[in-house]
């Protein structure tokens, strides 16, 4: 699989997560651990299990969660040293050399997407696998998902699948009222 080509301008990366297809196998979590060589206690994505309704009309859903690469990221605006920054392709990235570990960004993130690296002390998180994107490869969690929960693509390309899905009425952005303008769209079943 290859990442979609952009139309001569910079891409604006985004992801769609269709929770109706998620079976909670955690393959995305394992792939992420593997790709980013994380210690066991640190993770960039997780799958929340939510139960709702009242017996007998009762259901359960899996909600994959990770950094939402917000367009108005609270973590970037609160960072005192400029270690957290927004790339022009939409990815919220961290310059670990400038991170002093004040943990202000962790407290500012409503998605609990940020982790402290126990070994080096800096904060790290999902990067949409920026290294893989440079080689025109999809992020590890997207490529590994066996049920096609995740769709990844370029919002600046009007013909991409993600553009069409993001514009449809089915999708929501989690935490929209906190004005984060997240780049991950969800279809909630």
């Amino acid at each position: 699989m290859s990442a979609p080509e952009s139309l001569g301008k910079l891409p604006k990366w985004a992801m769609l997560i269709d929770t109706t297809k998620c079976v909670g196998c955690l393959a995305c979590v394992a792939a992420c651990h593997n790709q980013n060589e994380l210690p066991v206690t640190e993770y960039f994505n997780r799958v929340e299990e939510q139960e709702f309704g009242r017996f007998p009309n009762y259901n359960r859903r899996f909600l994959p969660m990770q950094c939402q690469h917000c367009d108005n990221p609270p973590c970037v605006s609160v960072c005192p040293t400029g270690a957290s920054y927004k790339r022009s392709d939409g990815i919220v990235a961290i310059d670990t050399r400038r991170c002093i570990g004040c943990k202000y960004c962790i407290l500012s993130c409503p998605y609990k997407a940020r982790m402290i690296n126990k070994e080096h002390g800096y904060v790290h998180k999902c990067s949409f696998c920026a290294v893989l994107l440079e080689n025109k490869t999809l992020p590890a969690c997207v490529g590994t998902c066996p049920t096609g929960v995740r769709v990844f693509g370029d919002l600046n390309d009007p013909n991409s699948e993600i553009s069409k899905l993001a514009a449809s009425k089915k999708t929501v952005q989690i935490g929209k009222d906190l004005n984060t303008k997240s780049s991950i769209y969800y279809i909630i079943g």
């Binding site: 005192p80 004040c102 409503p110 906190l178």
Partner: protein, 311 residues
């Protein structure tokens, strides 16, 4: 999960005490420098130190303390922490200048230059207000933390900071009974000294009376506001009012830190300072200071224990 430990609590507390002491000192100096000389001086002697101790605590709370200097090579106007780091740096500088200005000997050779002295006081007033506001703004601007994300936190911590600064001044005045220049406890020379003691006591207790009343109102409005807010804010309120932080909050802060000092101040004002009881000043100042630390600890912990519920 707790990311900011007691060291951050101490840092906010130290910043509050310093800013409060400086504010009170400059205000007393503005009102009547001769009458409130002791308050002015003691405030100036206190101001630089708690915040410096707090800064050291802050640096050691960082995961990478050796990189703290990056705070002072960057300025980011969107980050309250960055703005605060700069305000505190300038505050430390001006508080040391103000400290030296109030020493007996004129080391800076500035005392005769009235304009310069007034400029220093004006800048000191602005910066100490900035520091006292910053401790609350640091917390209140995070939308992800509903317990912090309310403007009342700023007002509450500001009022508490001024009370703590005043309490620190009052405490030091009690601890140095033999100092001829900054004492309000043991009069040495007749009627004149008693008058000085009475004046300073009246100032301390009047300001305390008003501000503690205000702090009580702020706390009530803060709790009501949180209680009528989102689901996660209400659960944070539960931790504070009836959960694991409730004993600290009700007894450590509300009862010991606000109500008892308020009653003490009211008693002193009611009796028109006719009887001078240094131990009453001492205990009420100590309780107000502990209350100031406890309320910061409670707010910092409760804010971290709860998070906005998104879905």
């Amino acid at each position: 999960m707790i990311y900011w430990s007691y060291m951050i609590t101490f840092y906010l507390f130290g910043a509050g005490v310093s800013a409060g002491a400086m504010l009170v000192s400059i205000a007393a100096d503005f009102i009547d420098p001769a009458k409130y000389k002791k308050i002015v001086r003691t405030g100036a002697y206190i101001a630089p130190f708690p915040i410096m101790a707090g800064m050291i605590m802050l640096i050691f709370d960082l995961e990478r303390p050796w990189l703290f200097w990056l705070l002072l090579t960057t300025f980011k106007y969107t980050s309250i922490m960055s703005i605060g780091a700069w305000i505190i740096t300038f505050f430390c500088a001006i508080s040391i200048i103000y400290f030296m200005l109030n020493l007996q000997k004129d080391y800076l050779k500035l005392k005769t230059k009235a304009n310069t002295v007034n400029a220093i006081k004006a800048v000191g007033l602005i910066l100490s207000t900035g520091v006292a506001l910053y401790t609350g703004l640091l917390l209140s601007t995070l939308t992800a933390r509903p317990f912090w994300n309310t403007p009342m936190v700023v007002v509450l911590l500001f009022v508490s900071a001024v009370i703590d600064g005043l309490a620190a001044i009052s405490l030091v005045l009690c601890l140095r009974p033999d100092c001829p220049d900054c004492c309000i406890t043991a009069p040495k020379t007749g009627e004149n000294m008693n008058e000085v003691i009475k004046n300073n006591n009246t100032f301390i207790h009047t300001v305390d009376f008003i501000l503690l009343y205000l702090l009580l109102l702020c706390t009530a409005v803060f709790l009501i506001g949180i209680g009528k807010s989102t689901e996660s804010a209400v659960s944070a309120l539960g931790i504070v009012t009836s959960g694991r932080l409730s004993v600290l909050f009700w007894f450590g802060f509300v009862a010991a830190g606000v109500v008892i000092p308020f009653i003490a101040a009211a008693y002193k004002l009611y009796t028109k300072m006719s009887t001078h009881r240094p131990w009453l000043n001492f205990i009420s100042a100590l309780l107000a200071l502990t209350g100031g630390y406890i309320v910061r600890s409670v707010i910092i912990n409760a804010g971290q224990l709860t998070q906005a519920i998104l879905f």
